[in-house]
Symmetry: C2
Subunit: 650 residues, 2 copies
């Protein structure tokens, strides 16, 4: 019998009622979808030009003009469609369905008769199709088309976009493969692999799964396809930053199954690892499974910021080396943390272990939420853990760090990626296999689903970040099991079942409740979720002697608006009293601020007009206010700091 892996929940079965996340889900529907539609149509004054929809019109022959934007510009439309689909499926809003249908029609008209679909190559260089896999992003763009198509089909039952995607996928299946007349290349930017698995699930066509498998297996084979392709082009490339292209950058230095450390461009890496986990599930492949575990462990125990931010090099958005986690110059692309969520979700499915969701949660509630303003119309691409706005200028090495969220970007992958992630948040809350329902996040919500033989209605109410309490009311029509993730960062909680204390079995970091049969049940968990300081491994040079404040999965930070400038002069006492304070006014989710006292250097040398001198440290006592990292920079521009110096270590 084939092993039963827990699968993410369909969005239509879940209604998110959570104060914090519910507001973000609604924000996608109410604000982000319309805003991004305006952006894609170049109707937002002052924002970076997108030209995305117009590119499709030009490709369809319905408008004159030049293509504008990066080669992967089409994906902004695809991710927008995917977000619209999720809004329809999760029930938050269907207003944009007609607009989406029109866009899908336009996309269909831009598709070439043979199925090929890419506005850049259609408009700008039709003769160059598939000749620049390293940089051309045709397969990457196709992947996002497939993801959108599957989502829109699931949400609406309309198969027009699915047909478009399948027609293109079929062409790709013809072009790529191990056959003599086929191309033995693979994407320079991975993403189509996981999309092909989705397309396989939506259509049942095994060829899509086989192509995903081909792309993973062919990668890293000698001679290196991408390097040979670059040599064939003799230096004529699309991106100047690829002049020093190396194999690690796109994870083609080894066959993926042999890779042990996370290397190269973080988003490419993590989309690929997610696809590897997909294939490990689909094919029950032990070697891929082990490779995924090694890569996961390398990232989460050596190459990840406490915010779930990954890819710590300002140069090409890359992974670097173990314990290289600079706070101010790091990259931590919003998309990379989204991709880490995707990888973690699949690893949880693959292993049945809840602990992967700790990292999913960490990435979500810190870096991904920080990636978007609470108003929905401004975004961070780069998510450092320390910001000094004055030195984030083009003339410094810090020009990749924007001290304020931006309306849009020349490379605009992050904003629609955040939108589709928030709109599909339910998939990260619940999963199920044949016999069990898994609760993976404490996000207040309602669920109706069916397991093998049992219908379940469930209501989850969480005030986890206020008082540590999570209550689950379940109606089950028959016996089934409920598995509730136990976060690794909390001590064992007090459980009750129908009001009586219980000590459930724990399996794979899930508390397991066997519901005996038809009936109503109430389970509660009371966690202690107090704010406290954590340290980093002593090998993390950037954090030596420092501590970060966390409460549950949320990382806190100091902002200039509350604590003045020169945050690096603050010293804290990690053993002193910490108080929770009222949430920030106007911010979603009632996340408390945290107050504590510290000391701040106000001068360090006798003559303050000089640069160096005999140490004469003068301190002020200061009252500090830390706010959730995910909400930083929603009030005023200013300095921000996560890792704070500890006053008395010894």
């Amino acid at each position: 019998m084939k092993k039963s892996f827990p699968r993410p929940m369909s969005l239509s079965r879940v209604k998110i009622t959570d104060e914090l996340y519910g507001s973000y889900v609604n924000l996608v529907a109410e604000k982000i979808i319309p805003y991004q539609w305006d952006i894609l149509n170049d109707r937002v004054p002052g924002a970076e030009k997108s030209h995305c929809v117009e590119n499709f019109r030009i490709a369809a022959g319905e408008s004159q003009g030049d293509h504008y934007g990066p080669v992967f510009c089409d994906t902004d439309a695809y991710k927008w469609l995917e977000a619209v689909a999720y809004c329809i499926e999760n029930g938050s809003d269907g207003r944009y369905e007609p607009t989406a249908d029109d866009l899908i029609d336009l996309i269909g008209r831009a598709q070439r008769p043979n199925g090929y679909l890419n506005t850049y190559y259609t408009v700008v260089s039709p003769g160059q199709r598939w000749l620049n896999l390293t940089e051309g992003h045709e397969l990457y763009s196709a992947g996002h088309l497939m993801e959108a198509a599957v989502a829109y089909y699931k949400a609406t039952g309309k198969d027009k976009l699915l047909q478009i995607a399948c027609k293109f996928a079929d062409l790709i299946c013809e072009v790529f493969g191990s056959g003599q007349k086929q191309c033995q290349g693979y994407p320079g930017h991975q993403e189509i692999e996981l999309a092909l698995v989705k397309l396989y699930h939506a259509t049942g066509r095994a060829r899509y799964l086989e192509l995903a498998d081909f792309f993973i297996k062919e990668r890293g084979v000698r001679p290196n396809y991408l390097i040979e392709e670059i040599q064939r082009r003799q230096g004529n490339g699309l991106f100047k930053e690829f002049a020093d292209y190396d194999e690690e950058y796109a994870q083609s230095h080894q066959p993926p199954v042999e890779q042990k450390t996370a290397e190269g461009h973080a988003v490419r890496a993590l989309y690929m690892y997610a696809a590897m986990a997909d294939l490990a599930i689909e094919q029950d492949d032990q070697q891929l499974n082990e490779a995924c575990l090694k890569l996961w462990n390398n990232i989460t125990t050596k190459r990840m910021h406490i915010t779930g931010g990954v890819g710590t090099s300002g140069h090409l958005e890359r992974f670097t080396v173990d314990y290289d986690l600079p706070n101010n110059s790091t990259y931590c692309e919003s998309c990379a943390s989204i991709a880490l969520m995707m990888f973690g979700q699949r690893m949880a499915s693959l292993t049945g272990d809840a602990s992967f969701y700790d990292i999913v949660e960490k990435s979500l509630c810190n870096t991904v939420l920080a990636g978007i303003a609470v108003t929905g119309d401004k975004y961070f691409y780069v998510n450092p853990l320390e910001v000094w706005p004055e030195n984030c200028k083009p003339s410094t090495s810090m020009s990749h760090v924007k001290p304020v969220r931006q309306p849009w970007f020349p490379v605009a992958c992050c904003p629609p990626n955040i939108a589709r992630t928030l709109a599909s948040l339910a998939q990260y809350i619940y999963s199920q296999d044949d016999l069990s329902l898994y609760i993976n996040q404490f996000i207040s919500s309602e669920l109706e689903t069916s397991l093998e033989g049992a219908k379940i209605k469930l209501k989850l109410e969480s005030s986890f970040m206020q008082d540590g309490l999570v209550t689950i009311q379940v109606q089950a029509s028959a016996a089934c099991s409920l598995k509730i993730r136990m976060p690794g960062y909390c001590d064992y909680p007090d459980f009750t079942l129908d009001g009586s204390g219980v000590i459930p079995t724990v399996e794979n970091n899930y508390a397991v409740f066997i519901l005996n049969g038809n009936g109503e049940y109430e389970i509660s968990m009371k966690y202690e979720v107090k704010p406290h300081f954590v340290a980093a491994n002593h090998r993390v040079r950037a954090d030596a002697g420092k501590a970060a404040l966390v409460k549950g999965p949320y990382v806190y930070c100091l902002e200039e608006v509350d604590n003045g400038s020169e945050l690096s002069n603050i010293f804290i006492d990690t053993t002193a009293n910490i108080q929770e304070g009222m949430p920030l006014a106007g911010m979603p989710g009632r996340l408390p601020v945290i107050k504590y006292s510290g000391k701040k250097i106000i001068s360090s040398i006798a003559d303050d007009s000089q640069l160096y001198g005999k140490p004469v440290w003068k301190f002020d006592d200061v009252n500090l206010t830390a706010v959730p990292y995910c909400l930083w920079c929603n009030r005023e521009v200013g300095e921000m700091l996560v890792w704070q110096k500890v006053e008395r270590l010894i």
Copy 2:
């Protein structure tokens, strides 16, 4: 009467006998000149290709082949010639004079009949002369030719190179200027301005001084010549990193006389400021004088590392913003500190104030000396204050930092610049005006010179870095004054004159001794030069809560070879006992090492296999050994750290 400014001493009058600097001066003659000659002729296996001499052969029509190397490659030969000239003039070695004569002959044959001289433009794109001042470096290269020519003429009396330089300079005087048929451009990379002043001094031809003045006055005038030139080229440039060219980069954003903060490429800026000081002296120009003072103060009180390193952005070797002094990602090009020495020397001449020599000394004895291995054949281009070799890789944002000195560079400005600086060190030790001899550095040496009416023989013996003692024996043929710099970083010393305690007058940070007439005098100074810790201004975010160890002008650092890895985990007690220890074996100059104790975090969380956790700080007591920064990385590759965390600030 024209004001008498102190002028640097002619090298021929000084014999450096200093243990440390004497060994470097000899190293230039014995090792560096031959090594760099081999490099320029591509005879060093494993080093970056230079092709410099071969380029001249090709330009002279005496060899076939392509030009190789950057557009300013000729300057490597010019700076080598300049260093050879200084070795001849300072008496350390004349062996390379025949080789230099041959090279000069070759350079002469590569010169075009109209005087134009530049191998790149002659060989590669003769039609493009003077059309790309922004990037083409023709004027920069001409400047280095002039400097070499003046030096070689002064050293040998041979005027062949001077004739070549003047012929080119005359052409440049024709091409550039305010006349209707002349070009109103100016160099993209400044340096010719100060070279023209030297050429004026060597030849007495005022047109060279006037051209220097024109280049400074024309710069920053609207419309901006360089920006218009870039627009005319329509994106066809030489350097990809100039895609985002801005006016500040080459200090053309304002007329230099109006500039108040140091902006843009540090070497360009400082060569220009040096020329501005030259012109302020030559023209007794108060406005230029004031501009120079403002720029100097901005640099030395807000934008300079404690090592005298400047230009703190890894992006384009630039100045950034006030107090932005990152330790690991900084640039601090060796050439920039050489240029700072040049600017400081001229400011001391302009103002008659010794304090400028504090910065000259700081730059010299830290960054410039660190730029070269004690073996003379390896060089740093970039001089950070904190190095973790593992993360200095192409895949990180730290690829500009090389953790070990290199045999040569694709852009090889630094090695020959260090050579010519060390070979001409005497110019920084002594200066004189009509009536006074100035002693600006405590570098053991002997001097014979003449003031107006007085001949002086002097012997300076310094064990300043060992016991703080400096002794000066003087024979004067007539009354004159001797002005001895009093370093700003020391307390007032004990002075003796002929064995008796005296308290000399202090003017402009010089101790003034009036020698009454013909006779012999012995002056001694006993300073207290103990190692001690200093702090940075509290606005320097990178150094908050840290201290650096200094002894006199020398900055010390911790190296992995003495103190293990993870130097960032070390905490020091700035009030504890500090001991001087034996100098490092095999290193020049008997600079003591410094020993003290500290504590080192050996683990910070309970489970060392994890990345984050509850703080559980564990420390080891450690015995630390700090070594002079200028000698770091002469033993083993490893971590290095200047700014150390302080254990008990409060």
